[in-house]
Amino acid sequence: MKAAHPVIKSLALGTMGFLYLPLFGVAVYSVNKAEKGLLWKGFTLDWYLQLFSNEWILSTALNTLALAVVSTLIATVLGTLVAIGINRFPWSKKANSMLDIMLHIPVVTPDIIMAGALVVAFGLLRVLSNVFEPGMFDMIIAHITFQIAFVALVVRSRLMSIGHDVEEAARDLFATNWYVLRRVMIPLMLPGVVAGAMLAFTLSLDDFVLSFFTAGPDSQTLPLYIYAAVRKGVTPEIHALSTLVVLITVVLVVGAERMSRKKEAC
């Protein structure tokens, strides 16, 4: 393609700078010796070391991870099943569009509405059973609910790109339904399933609104912790924590991209 016009180039680079300026600021001040204020007082890794000895932050990080892992696992299974169910079977046009709408609702609805609805729902369910206290259980349910839709949509688009020739060919060769599913569909779907799972995982790690409304005192996650801390006043420790989170995100993104590129090859 032709080279970019200098105006376009400078606009583009300026925009990238704009995107990264705040994050860069956080990273810089995470290694600044000064505890308050913005004067540069020398390089230090103290704040990072302090993080690792902070028991509360470590348990919060663990919560975040556990929440993401469990909810992703369940949501991926459910979402994949739904995707297969929608794509591989003949439904009437009306049924198809209804299913389509149902899947898109969590994606387009502002999450605060979902959060409010779940708070009310859990409040009522709590009367029936104690297990619906604000806490990890509620959070997992909330996360799964929006993750299913994302996973289903990703897997479905993968299924659509696979097409049904392969299935027909397998059946022509007298494959049973079970065989078609296990030996043909699943291997072909796998890149889509993995992509959906990774999408769900990152969405869960990053989620703030749903967690905010359903968390209990023992089940704080990193985004909630950072939010509460930041409202009182920013400290270099928070900068260190945030920089770490950004770095981990970079690793996840690059890793995910590498994996998807490898799988696309087959």
């Binding site: 609805a117 799964i144 027909e168 945030s242 989170v245 995100t249």
Partner: protein
């Protein structure tokens, strides 16, 4: 319809057994969504018609008072406060989307003009903030807008803020935060369309039209419409309901509808009113989606 045998994707089967199998796949996921999404939303809708006790308890008595308050009719006479918040949310979301689109085009063109190898690098650079936590990205602006840094100093010089104070909370801070938050949401889908641009058409247009803008509108915009539409929807709707950015960067001085809802579930302890406001937001969302659908594009978000 009689349960005849027919061929579906190479399989000899009946409609009935297909339906049964299909449902068995769909059931678990759809049941989950029904239980934890559809039913709560319906209950939520019902809640918007409920009453609030003196200390914040829910009283299940039918009333339209919440909607009346939303329209402005309260104990204090008529005020358009809440309607104004809804309006402001639409405006902020709209401006954020517009600015993001204006910045995303040059960015997409730039990335598309890179050699294929470094494109991945640039895309990764755009994706990383996209996946980074919203809270971090919002509070990071506290540093940039702090009183010690030039930006706040310039603003103080211009009289926009008292001298010595930070550039937040303020509408400027909210817009900066919103655009930096939602920019990747537009850039990524837009880029996928820009990458597939047929430049021969653009060159043809350049031969036909003398003005750059006409070339853009006649040759580039139509081709990028699919990606652009997805980006706009993915930005406008969440931007209307966002509450972290206005909360951290706007404080109580610049409230959006997301903050209003969150407040009702927090210190204001007025769940029914919160539900009513959420319904209003829901209606706004559906209207925007309808307008988007009317343009003929099918929503193919992922």
């Amino acid at each position: 319809m009689p349960n005849r045998l027919f061929i579906w994707r190479g399989e000899l089967t009946t409609r009935g057994s297909l339906t049964k199998r299909g449902l068995s796949f769909l059931s678990s996921g759809m049941l989950w969504l029904a239980l934890f999404l559809i039913v709560p939303t319906l209950v939520f809708m019902a809640l918007s018609f409920a009453d609030r006790g003196e200390y914040g308890e829910i009283i299940w008595k039918f009333t339209v008072e919440n909607y009346q308050r939303l329209m402005g009719y309260s104990v204090f006479g008529w005020t358009p406060d809440y309607l104004y918040i809804l309006w402001r949310s639409v405006v902020v979301a709209g401006l954020t989307t517009l600015i993001s689109v204006l910045l995303s085009y040059p960015l997409s063109f730039f990335i598309a003009s890179r050699p294929p190898r470094s494109r991945y690098l640039w895309l990764t650079l755009v994706i990383v903030p996209f996946w980074t936590n919203m809270v971090i990205r919002a509070y990071a602006w506290f540093l940039i807008l702090a009183p010690e840094l030039p930006f706040a100093k310039v603003a103080a010089f211009l009289g926009l803020v008292p001298s010595g104070s930070a550039l937040y909370p303020s509408p400027i801070a909210v817009y900066l935060g919103m655009v930096s938050m939602f920019l990747p949401f537009v850039t990524l889908p837009l880029y996928s369309s820009v990458e597939r641009l047929d430049w021969s058409l653009v060159e043809a247009a350049q031969d036909l039209y003398s003005s750059r803008t006409r070339v853009f509108f006649k040759a580039i915009l139509p081709q990028t419409l699919p990606g652009l539409s997805v980006g706009v929807v993915l930005t406008f709707v969440p931007a209307m309901g966002t509450f972290i950015v206005p909360d951290l960067l706007g404080g109580a001085k610049y409230m959006l509808v997301g903050n209003l809802i969150q407040q009702q579930f927090g210190a204001s302890r007025d769940w029914p009113f919160g539900a009513a406001v959420s319904m209003a937001l829901m209606i706004l969302t559906m209207i925007s989606l309808q307008l988007y659908r009317r343009r003929g594009e099918e929503i193919e978000l992922l």
